[in-house]
């Protein structure tokens, strides 16, 4: 940049991305709540076992399980990589919007992913125990 003043390349872009991430986090939160409610209902004994468990099949043999976790882990890593990218963008274009607020939203997103990951692992462990 020729002048020393910060040059906002896309006014409001950081806010828009933060809002989009927040909408995604809201969707994830509501869905996680629904999953948790159903999981609680099932483990309280108010629900039928799944067809595989009912038929005595080992649910741990679900071929979807490992790729699903790998996919989720990949998504988590991708989100974690967003931070250095954001830091690089901030260094190149020191816009005031790309600051602590972005870090806060990144932390919230990363925490949501980790909690969801742990919840999935817990669910999988519960299914193995049921089987």
């Amino acid at each position: 940049m020729s002048s020393g003043a910060p040059q906002p390349i896309a006014p409001g872009a950081a806010g828009q991305l933060a809002a989009l991430a927040a909408a995604f986090a809201g969707a994830l939160l509501a869905t996680s709540l629904a999953c948790a409610l159903l999981w609680w209902r099932r483990h309280r004994g108010g629900a039928e076992p799944g067809p595989a468990a009912a038929a005595g099949a080992p649910t741990g043999a679900d071929p979807d399980r490992l790729p699903a976790r790998a996919l989720f882990l990949g998504a988590a890593v991708a989100v974690l990589l967003l931070w250095p990218t954001a830091a690089a963008v901030r260094q190149l274009w020191p816009h005031p919007a790309l600051g602590w607020r972005l870090l806060g939203w990144w932390l919230l997103g990363a925490t949501t992913l980790v909690v969801a990951w742990l919840a999935l692992a817990r669910l999988a462990a519960g299914e193995r125990r049921d089987a």
Partner: protein
């Protein structure tokens, strides 16, 4: 973007998820009251939904990814003036990105022909973008302010054709029920299957039916109400189309509907230039 925008977006995300989770139940209740109207469609009954809930287990990652993409897309489509999770500068592009990601990740729910349907819908939306000269979803609705004569569906015959292709693609794209009930995440798949046409109908209202603007300007009092009524009317129309076997044939998405969408897009561009409406 205001200071409270991320929190508002979070609330919108939660609200959209709640609405889409409840939507299959609303459809099932309607089906119980008017079974003839839903004959041949893929709307599930309350009994099937209850059974899916009783068998609920951990959702598959593909289903979950598709579902989250759908809910985020639903949250960013505006319901009224400043009534959305985020007023994105390139909202339509984000929608396409979310749709592509969702379809790519959850092939189990949406058939492979969905790629053709997505293409037809994306091309059908292009003439609206040409008319409004914006990718911002709110701008597309604002460009139709001032009554029914300004709605894009009646602006020119090619826009009308593109709108019809959009609707037809939505009807064909309605994800069919699986031959056997899905174990574990059937409850989420039911919501996903019912949610796709609802979100597409809402998008159709924003793109072609004036968004939150009333048909008569004097009635512009509650934008969200207009959007809701129009979206439900479009869903009813999609169900009416879906009842006919011809509109459940996924082969329509292979070639015919994308080609018709292209015709609408090109024709509308030519019409725009010839009529002198191009900026």
């Amino acid at each position: 973007m205001s200071e409270g925008a991320p929190f508002r977006a979070l609330v919108w995300g939660i609200a959209a998820a709640a609405v889409l989770l409840g939507w299959p139940w609303a459809l099932a209740v309607c089906r119980r009251r008017s079974p003839a109207w839903f004959a041949g469609t893929d709307v599930v009954s309350t009994g099937e939904l209850s059974a899916a809930l009783r068998r609920a287990g951990r959702p598959r990652m593909g289903t979950l990814a598709g579902w989250l993409g759908l809910v985020t897309a639903a949250a960013i489509i505006p319901v009224g003036t400043a009534w959305s999770a985020a007023d994105l500068d390139a909202g339509l592009l984000w929608l396409v990105a979310l749709a592509v990601t969702s379809l790519a990740l959850q092939g189990a729910v949406v058939p492979a022909a969905a790629a053709g349907g997505l293409l037809a819908i994306a091309v059908s939306a292009a003439p609206v973008v040409l008319r409004a000269a914006s990718l911002q979803l709110a701008d597309l609705a604002i460009a139709q302010q001032g009554g029914i004569a300004n709605w894009f569906v009646v602006r020119d015959p090619f826009l009308c054709l593109a709108g019809i292709v959009f609707l037809a693609s939505t009807a064909v794209l309605w994800p069919p029920r699986p031959a056997q009930p899905a174990a574990g995440d059937g409850w989420l798949q039911d919501s996903l299957r019912a949610g796709v046409p609802l979100v597409l109908s809402h998008l159709f209202v924003v793109l072609y039916l004036g968004g939150w603007w009333a048909a008569v300007p004097a009635l512009d009092v509650a934008g969200w109400l207009h959007t809701t009524v129009k979206t439900l009317a479009v869903v009813a129309l999609v169900i009416a189309l879906r009842r006919r076997p011809a509109w459940r044939d996924p082969r329509l998405l292979d070639r015919r509907l994308p080609l018709l969408a292209l015709l609408g897009c090109l024709g509308s561009a030519i019409w725009l230039v010839v009529s002198g409406a191009a900026r």
